[in-house]
Subunit: 181 residues, 2 copies
Amino acid sequence: MSNETRLTPTSYIVLGLIEAAGEATPYDLKQVVARSLGNFWSLPHAQLYAEPERLTAGGHLEERREEGGRRRRYYKLTGTGRAALREWLAEPTAEMTELRDLAILKVFFGADPQQMAAAQLPARRAKAAEYEEIERNLAGVEGAGGPLLALRAGIVHERVWVDFWAGQLEGESTEGRSGEG
Amino acid sequence: MSNETRLTPTSYIVLGLIEAAGEATPYDLKQVVARSLGNFWSLPHAQLYAEPERLTAGGHLEERREEGGRRRRYYKLTGTGRAALREWLAEPTAEMTELRDLAILKVFFGADPQQMAAAQLPARRAKAAEYEEIERNLAGVEGAGGPLLALRAGIVHERVWVDFWAGQLEGESTEGRSGEG
DNA sequence: TCCCGGATCGTCTGTTTAGGACGGTGCACT
DNA sequence: AGTGCACCGTCCTAAACAGACGATCCGGGA
């Protein structure tokens, strides 16, 4: 009864996904992650097998094992788990993620910005377009508020990257303040 | 003689910093990271002791040990190390980092965007201001090209975050496309 | 001189994440 | 019944993270 399970972002991802699903197998989670959440917060699928086990041990999940066949493990929230999730969601955070961008890291150390821009721009543009497509499909759906907001954050982000790298391509040497809309 | 030292971003950070410094101790690196690079790509200081060791074993660095006193370790690049760094810098990457933002993660799972905005906005604004201050000091310095660009990337991102969260504070329920300048 | 305190500098340990290799299971199609 | 492929799960190694802890240096006071 140590109750000493430390809850990391990974834990809350699992809790959050299972809450939304009601009951789910790790493989289900993997699918969902691949489809939506993985776009801005990815994790190795092995985690989605290991973490529910940990959470079950900590009393946040309960496990039901399929009788025959693959003997899948189905997880759902316990009261403890639901409470932990609620508490986490209710607590706003001032924490700020870093850029941690490989291309920028290289540029920082002296890589040629134009070459980097040439590699980054198409990828960023494609991503932006993909997100915008998803947004159109998601815009009507109700109850998609959270994911939709996250998506929009992703979109504005990608746009900034596109602007940034586009600016590098032109080789702007002086003031690169983009006042465009 | 396996020469099989895998080089990770952390490795290149160490190589890059040591190249810039000529010769440096882990503690020196730690200082530099805290001051500049850590703003967008942080790492635990223990890494800055462990990694040079690994790199020395792999032939990318050479180590000189202080005689008396603290017996500090001074590292500098070998030909191999310099070559590896150059090669890495010359190779543009299309890799795109994820947002991986805690606040967005919470919102995704249903946290209240306005509360989150209230927590995020001041922090983001402060960071943006801090960066802009640094930019003013750095703008004149020559040879600061790379770091300056990285800084500017950081600035535009912080601004986007500020816009994004500011939009949430107003509780815009319909179209939140900000055409502001 | 000796001791003390804080700043400087370095090491160590446990846990989580990353990333992928690899192995079973079940179904569809012959 | 056999075979191939998609589905599903486990395992392993290396790296990153986070922070506790220890040692060294230096200045100031007893």
